[in-house]
Symmetry: C2
């Protein structure tokens, strides 16, 4: 059992928690809590750290999964050091990052048309996580993020995905115009959510065909040049004095409108 | 100018920031930042505190509004003491709480049918604020919360509303069954968002008539007895392994489905 916060492994875990660079260099990320341990694909689990009391109180399902992986016990003090939550559940999974090929983003497993979410410069970790969770729920085929979007592997984003990070294919693009051109060549119609003149109300287009929704930064929305590169511009009508919706909310309303049309 | 954090007013402001009890006893709440100052109804403004540098850097519109209210300058140290944000904008408005009559919740200003959001035991301040913001955007007539819902006047909730707290009528109910009976008597059809057998897909009902959406706690959903009291149970279909959507997201998808039907 690890009882010292000066332990080398503990220091490495603390770095994985707070430093995007450490996550990028090691190709690892932390997934905290019971749900994120239970849903972690076994082949992606690097190691698991369990606080001693959490181990004693573990239910059968958790014990069984722990028996099949390599795990280490840690003291309460050590766990608090590596934890990112106020009330830790006492289990931390170190997970290997997964790289997706472009075709994984373009082909839905159920054989339906692509439905993509493309995020430009999203900065709130909770928003990004919620978008992955909602994308899975709506049946999206993948999520593409610009390089300046917040790190998807930050502990808060991972928690907000509620496990969707294991299942929704995603990719970071260094070249958004190039990616948009690639998608268009693959027959995907690109819709920019933007409060611009001439934008159509979001429920007018036919989303049963391959489609992608561009969502911009929380404060500033999409860059003008990105809006110009889309095939079509759409707005979600707002009553009252509302100037914009929360970015994750806008993404969810668009994805669920596409899901609704495909279900009808 | 107030320069001491030991100043009596500063202590009162700090209490309004962290204590729901202080807010309830005084009937006041804090609205931090430029946007929440600019959108505050003048008749609800109790006082305003402006950090000295923020005052010097204020734009014309902000100066003009400041000229019409009673405000006080404070030092940077004092402002940080009363601020709830990491990068304060240097302006804090003390706002008088507003009580709404039931009819304000039941009658939309545009003369259309009531569209209500009813929240049971929502615990995340950001979620609650986002729900108010989205409710305004969708054209909801009001929001009703159970007593065990997080305090709507907490600084984080107020910020998340992006000003909607000034415009969306809301009420706290001590007696949810009584409130539901009252709404039903007024011709409102009550829909519970619940993952229960026999629930209809959320886009099937006709929301052009007066309607209310019941949304439950983030972790546990609605209480079984609350679900039983609704007129109808609805679900938002989820693909993949998603067990639930974020509570605010679910509320937004339902409200915007109602708005979509009313727009068609």
């Amino acid at each position: 059992m690890i009882t010292s916060t000066a332990n080398k492994k503990v220091k490495e875990l603390a770095e994985l928690s707070v430093k995007a660079k450490a996550r990028a260099e090691t190709g690892l990320f932390l997934a905290e809590g019971r749900k994120l341990f239970m849903e972690a694909p076994p082949e992606q689990i690097e190691s698991v750290y369990v606080e001693e009391n959490a181990y004693r109180g573990a239910d059968t399902a958790m014990r069984e999964k722990l028996d099949r992986v390599s795990f280490e016990l840690v003291s309460g003090e050590v766990f608090r050091k590596i934890s990112d939550t106020m009330t830790p559940q006492g289990i931390m999974t170190v997970v290997r990052q997964k790289k997706y090929e472009t075709h994984a983003l373009l082909n839905k497993t159920d054989g339906r048309a692509a439905m993509l979410l493309i995020l430009e410069n999203i900065q709130d970790p909770g928003n990004l996580g919620t978008m992955l969770r909602t994308a899975e729920g709506a049946g999206a085929s993948g999520v593409i993020m610009t390089r300046d979007t917040v790190d998807i592997y930050s502990p808060k984003t991972i928690r907000s995905t509620m496990g969707s990070v294991y299942r929704v294919p995603f990719a970071v693009t260094e070249d958004l115009p190039g990616t948009l051109a690639e998608l268009r060549a693959a027959g995907v119609c690109i819709y920019a959510a933007a409060l611009v003149e001439g934008a159509r109300v979001y429920d007018e287009p036919d989303y049963r065909k391959p489609c992608a929704f561009l969502i911009g930064n929380e404060g500033n929305g999409l860059r003008a040049e990105t809006v110009a590169q889309a095939d079509s511009r759409i707005i979600i009508p707002m009553k009252g004095c509302v100037e914009s919706l929360n970015a994750a909310m806008a993404a969810g309303i668009l994805l669920y409108e596409a899901a609704r049309q495909r279900r009808v």
